[in-house]
C-alpha cells in the first residue's frame, strides 16, 4: 500500500506533506514552492492551469479563473451570502455550479483539479505513486461541505482516508514535540474564507477537542472586499464620472489584486502608496493607505470572531486564565490588529511558534502518520461542531447528539405513531442550536411508512451515527417490520449565520442607483441619534478625556452639523463615520462607567 499524504485544501493556498522517518515534511512543486494557490484557470482550449500560473490569469481573464472555490463547496444555490465572484456562479438543477465559457462545472470538480496538481507534484517529488490522503476542512464545516470535500478527493484519484478539522490539525503540529505535556490550548484559525476556534486538552499524547465554534463565511476575503469598496468610494469621490467603469469585471479583478497585495504589505509597513494607472482617459489615482485605515476595516470584520471564542470557551467550561496557550493559524493572523484582538479576548499574548500557512498541512500529515501506524504515541479525539436532532410535535427541535460530542458517536431515539392506523411519519433531521425547529437548518427529511396498528404500537428507531470524518449516517428502523431506511441527505446546509440577514440589509443602501432620498433620511436619523448621545456621554465621562480629545470630538460634532445643513449625502455619511470612529474611546469609557454602576449595585 502506498503512503498516505496530508493535504491542506485551503481557500487561498493548498499544501501537501508526507511522513519521512517519523517527521512530517511538506513537499514542494517543481519550482520549489510549498504553497500552491487554490486557483484554477480554464482556457478556451487545452488543460486547466492550476496554482501560480492560474493566479497570473486572474486579472487578465477573470471570468475564466476560479478562486476561493472552497466558499462554494457544499453550499446551496442562493446561500452564497455577500460573496460575489467575477466568474459566473449559477444554479444548475438545484446545485451550485460555475460556468466558464461553454463548460458548467461543479465546485468539487474545480477542487479536484487543485488536488490533482498536488498529487502529481508529490509523485514527481517522491518518485512513486500517491493515492491515499488525509484532507482538512474547517471545523465548522457541516455534513455536506465535508462530503463535497471527500468527493473532490475521490475525483482526483485519491482514497480519502480521513477528513480532519483544521484547528485540530494545527494543534497536532503544535503538540507533536510536547507529548509529555498536560495542557489546555485554544487554536484561533482565521483563513481566507473561514474562521474556526477550537479548545483542546493535551494529555500525554491524547489530543482531545473540548469544543469548537466558528463561521464558514468569515475570512481574509471579506477584508479584501471591504478594502475594494473603500477604494471604489475614494476613486468615485475623485472621479464621479467613471463610477460605472469601476464595476466592470476586469477593473474589479485588478482592484481586488491590488487590495489583497496592499493588505499583505501593511502587515510589515505602516502605510502603502496605492497607484492605479489603469483608469480610463488619462486619469491617475494615487492614495496613501495607512495601516490605521486598514485596521478600521479589519476591526469590524474580525470583531465577529469574538462571540465564537466566548461561546467556545463557555462550552468547554474554561475561562481565559485556564488556557496555557493560544495558537494562531491562517495567513490573516499575521496582521497586527488580529493579534491584538486575540490577545484581548484570551488575555494573553498569542503563540506564534507555528507557521500560520503550514501548520494545518503538517497536522494533516501527522494524522496520516497516525492512520498508517507510523506514529504510535498520539490519539486525536475530535468533536462534531453542531447539535443534531429532529423536529418534534409543537415545532421544537429535539437534540439527539449535542454539539461538541466526541466523534465517532452514535445515539438513537424511538418514535411512535401518534394516532391509530397512521400510515406514515415525516421526520425532519436538523442541525443547529435553536429551540424552534424552523430556526435551525434542515439536513433532510424522510418519510417512514407504518403498518396500520393502534396508537403507540408502531415504533420507529432513528439511529444517528457521526463517523470519525464528522459525516453523518442516519438509519431509521421500524421495529415491527424490521424495515430499515438509510436517509439520503439531499439538501445542502449552510452553517447558522445570523449575520447574513444583517449583511443583506446593509447591502441595500450600497446600491449606486437612485435611492437618494431614502439614504439621506436614514443617514440623518443616525446623525440625530448620535449627536445627543455624544453630548450626554461627554457630560457623564468627558472629564476623563484629554483637552485635545474633547476638542477633536467638538470638531467632529461641528462637521456633522454642517453636513446636515449642506444636504450632501457623502459629506454626511463621512461625518457620521468620523464621529463614530472618533468617539470609540468615549464609548469605552461609558461602558466602563456602566460596569462600575453594576458593580455598585451588586455590592449594595
Amino acid at each position: 500500500m502506498s503512503q498516505i499524504v496530508g493535504i491542506d485544501l485551503g481557500t487561498t493556498n493548498s499544501l501537501i506533506g508526507i511522513m519521512d522517518s517519523g517527521f512530517p515534511i511538506l513537499l514542494a512543486d517543481s519550482e520549489g514552492f510549498r504553497l500552491t494557490p487554490s486557483i484554477v484557470h480554464f482556457p478556451a482550449s487545452g488543460e486547466p492551469l492550476v496554482g501560480r500560473a492560474a493566479g497570473r490569469m486572474k486579472a487578465i481573464s477573470p471570468d475564466r479563473t476560479v478562486f476561493s472555490v472552497k466558499r462554494l463547496m457544499g453550499v446551496r444555490p442562493g446561500e452564497t451570502g455577500k460573496d460575489s465572484f467575477p466568474f459566473r456562479v449559477v444554479d444548475a438543477q438545484g446545485k451550485t455550479s460555475i460556468v466558464v465559457g461553454e463548460q458548467t462545472i461543479s465546485p468539487e470538480e474545480v477542487s479536484s483539479y487543485i488536488l490533482k496538481k498536488l498529487k502529481s507534484d508529490a509523485e514527481k517529488s517522491l518518485g512513486e505513486p500517491v493515492d491515499r490522503a488525509v484532507i482538512t476542512v474547517p471545523a465548522y464545516f457541516n455534513d455536506l461541505q465535508r462530503q463535497a470535500t471527500k468527493r473532490a478527493g475521490e475525483a482526483a484519484g485519491l482514497t480519502v482516508e480521513r477528513i480532519i478539522n483544521e484547528p485540530t490539525a494545527a494543534a497536532l503540529a503544535y503538540g507533536l514535540d510536547r507529548l509529555k505535556d498536560r495542557s489546555r490550548i485554544a487554536v484561533y484559525d482565521l483563513g481566507g474564507g473561514t474562521f474556526d476556534i477550537s479548545i483542546l486538552e493535551l494529555n500525554e499524547g491524547v489530543f482531545r477537542v473540548l469544543s469548537t465554534n466558528g463561521n464558514t463565511r468569515l475570512g481574509g476575503d471579506d477584508i479584501d472586499r471591504d478594502m475594494v469598496r473603500l477604494l471604489e468610494e475614494r476613486i468615485t469621490a475623485r472621479y464621479p464620472e467613471i463610477r460605472h467603469e469601476l464595476k466592470e469585471p476586469l477593473f474589479s479583478a485588478r482592484l481586488r489584486e491590488l487590495a489583497h497585495d496592499t493588505k499583505l504589505r501593511l502587515s510589515e509597513e505602516n502605510a502603502v502608496q496605492i497607484e492605479i494607472p489603469f483608469l480610463s482617459g488619462n486619469r491617475r489615482f494615487s492614495y496613501l493607505l495607512s495601516r490605521q485605515e486598514l485596521d478600521a476595516i479589519t476591526r469590524s470584520i474580525i470583531r465577529r470572531t469574538r462571540s465564537h471564542c466566548l461561546r467556545s470557551m463557555d462550552d468547554a467550561k474554561v475561562a481565559p486564565r485556564d488556557l496555557d496557550e493560544v495558537i494562531l493559524v491562517g495567513g490573516v493572523t499575521r496582521m497586527p490588529i488580529v493579534r491584538q484582538l486575540v490577545a484581548e479576548i484570551f488575555q494573553r499574548l498569542p503563540n506564534t511558534s507555528q507557521n500560520p500557512d503550514e501548520a494545518v498541512a503538517i497536522g494533516a500529515t501527522i494524522q496520516a502518520g497516525i492512520i498508517s501506524g507510523e506514529i504510535q504515541s498520539v490519539v486525536l479525539l475530535d468533536v462534531t461542531p453542531l447539535s443534531l436532532g429532529v423536529e418534534t410535535f409543537g415545532g421544537l427541535m429535539n437534540v439527539i447528539i449535542p454539539r461538541n460530542t466526541t466523534i465517532p458517536c452514535k445515539a438513537g431515539e424511538m418514535f411512535t405513531n401518534a394516532v391509530a392506523n397512521q400510515r406514515s411519519m415525516r421526520i425532519k433531521v436538523l442541525q443547529g442550536e435553536r429551540e424552534l425547529a424552523k430556526d435551525n437548518w434542515e439536513l433532510g427529511s424522510f418519510e417512514i411508512e407504518f403498518a396500520p396498528v393502534p396508537k403507540g404500537v408502531a415504533r420507529v428507531g432513528i439511529q444517528f451515527e457521526i463517523d470519525a470524518n464528522g459525516i453523518l449516517h442516519v438509519l431509521a428502523r421500524d421495529t415491527s417490520t424490521g424495515q430499515e431506511i438509510v436517509l439520503d441527505l439531499a439538501s445542502a446546509v449552510d452553517v447558522a449565520d445570523e449575520a447574513v440577514e444583517k449583511m443583506i440589509a446593509e447591502s441595500l443602501d450600497r446600491a449606486f442607483d437612485d435611492m437618494a432620498e431614502r439614504v439621506w433620511t436614514e443617514t440623518a436619523i443616525k446623525s440625530n441619534e448620535l449627536l445627543p448621545a455624544v453630548k450626554s456621554a461627554m457630560t457623564l465621562v468627558g472629564d476623563q478625556l484629554t483637552t485635545e480629545d474633547r476638542q477633536k470630538i467638538d470638531e467632529l460634532v461641528a462637521a456633522v452639523n454642517s453636513a446636515l445643513e449642506s444636504k450632501e449625502i457623502h459629506q454626511l455619511k463621512a461625518a457620521n463615520a468620523a464621529l463614530d470612529e472618533g468617539t470609540q474611546h468615549l464609548a469605552t469609557l461609558l461602558i466602563d462607567r456602566a460596569m462600575q454602576e453594576a458593580e455598585k449595585r451588586r455590592g449594595g
Binding site: 494529555n203 470519525a468 443616525k526 464609548a587
Partner: protein
Amino acid sequence: MTNFFAVFGLPPRPVIDVAQLSDLYANKSKTAHPDRAADSDFATLNEAFRTLSDPVLRLWHLLAIAGVEPQSMTPGPEINGWFGRVASGLQRFDQKLHPLAQETSSLLRAVKIREVQPAVSELEHLSNELTRQKEGLLQATAQIDARWPENLTADRVWLAQIACDLRFIEKWLAQIAERRLRFQELL
C-alpha cells in the same frame, strides 16, 4: 441498556472521582480509538464518558439502569416557585437586548449597554440563587452517596426527586447563561 459505570470498571454510585474518570478515558482512548483498533466500540466509550462526567446526567443514568424514571416525577415545591421568576427575568432582558443588538454606532451601543445593565444584574442575581439551590441538591446527593448502598430503595426515590429538580435548574441556568453570552458578545 449499557451500564456506563461498567464500561470504566466503576461501581455504580451517585458520586465519582471525575479526575480519575478522565485519566481512565484517556488511557482507554489510546487503544480503543478507531485509528488504533478496527472494530472497537469507541462511540459507546465516548457516550459513557460524557454521561458520567456530568453530575446530573450521571444521576439520571444511575437511576435508569436501576429502572427508576425521574421524568415521571413532578418538580419539588421550591422548584415550582422559580418558573415565574425565571420567565419574567428572561423576558425583561430580551426586550432590552433587542435594540442593542441592532445598533451599529459605537456610542449609541454604549448608551444602550447602560440601559440593559439592570436587567443583566437581575439575571445574575437569579443565576446565583439557582446555583446555590443546585449546590444544595448536589450536597444532598453526596450525603446519599456517603451511605450508599445501605438504603437503596428509599434513596433511589430521593435521588429521583433530586434528579428531576436538577434538570429544571440546569435548564434555567442554561437559558440565563445564553443571555449572558449574548450580552458579552455585544460588549
